[in-house]
């Protein structure tokens, strides 16, 4: 894997809503701020699988199309829209995505380019 250390654009509420529609996940914690706060969250949070895919997209961009592969992560903290995102990946494939100062996701990627 290519070594990566880069900032990614923050997620927008529009992306969360688009993702909800695309995967049919209409849990209101992903689009209704009042509901999310009533559930004890800081506000609307991104879907874990969307956070996963945003990290994977940066890995695909750096490494070229991964024709086959594996991406395994632990989700450690929620990502809120607007939070600055940073992604690192080592040459061994160890990946970490931060949202602000918090590690949101860590894991490992491997794969072969087309």
């Amino acid at each position: 894997m290519k070594q990566i250390q880069q900032q990614l654009p923050p997620l927008s509420l529009e992306q969360l809503v688009r993702f909800a529609g695309a995967v049919q996940d209409f849990n209101p914690i992903h689009y209704d701020d009042a509901f999310a706060r009533s559930a004890g969250l800081p506000g609307v949070i991104a879907q874990g699988p969307l956070t996963f895919l945003v990290a994977l997209d940066a890995l695909v961009a750096a490494n070229g199309e991964l024709e086959s592969g594996q991406f395994q992560v632990r989700l450690k903290a929620p990502v809120t829209p607007g939070a600055p995102l940073g992604l690192t990946c080592s040459t061994e494939g160890d990946v970490e995505l931060t949202a602000g100062q918090t590690v949101a996701l860590s894991g490992r990627v491997s794969g072969g380019a087309a």
Binding site: Q15, R18, A22, P49, L53, V54, A61, S68, Q70, L75
Partner: protein, 132 residues
């Protein structure tokens, strides 16, 4: 969550990797040059292939206490636009630790000919109920 599902099939459904869904997911991933490629890898999220309510009802996952703890995908190739697939999900592990429940669900996506295109392993955590 229903631990009696351990080792059993939770969901099974026929799917189509609709081209329009690939496009929608690409937009959701973001305005990048690779979002369409990434969408073809991550088009489906196993637990929501039948809609998230179906998964919640089948597993009796308590959404007020549930967290997505981990997710992994093993892909043999990207999904192709408009290809037909069958998805099956099995509960592979169920453990209790420190009052929390951990459930691991494995979803396989195969073509009608039986070709395995992708396997996903998803871990949900159900936190202990809050004392009243």
């Amino acid at each position: 969550m229903r631990q009696e599902l351990l080792g059993k099939q939770v969901l099974s459904t026929d799917l189509v990797a609709h081209g329009i869904k690939l496009e929608e997911l690409g937009y959701a991933i973001g305005n990048t040059t690779t979002s369409a490629t990434t969408a073809a890898i991550g088009l489906f999220f196993g637990p929501t292939v039948c809609g998230y309510r179906t998964f919640v009802e089948a597993t009796q996952l308590d959404l007020d206490r549930a967290l997505l703890g981990g997710h992994e995908i093993h892909w043999k190739r990207p999904f192709k636009a408009d290809e037909h697939l069958q998805a099956t999900m099995v509960m592979k592990e169920h453990t209790n630790k420190n009052g929390m429940e951990f459930g691991v669900f494995e979803t396989e996506f195969r073509t009608p000919a039986g070709e395995l295109v992708q396997m996903q392993r998803t871990t949900f955590i159900e936190r202990a109920p809050q004392p009243k």
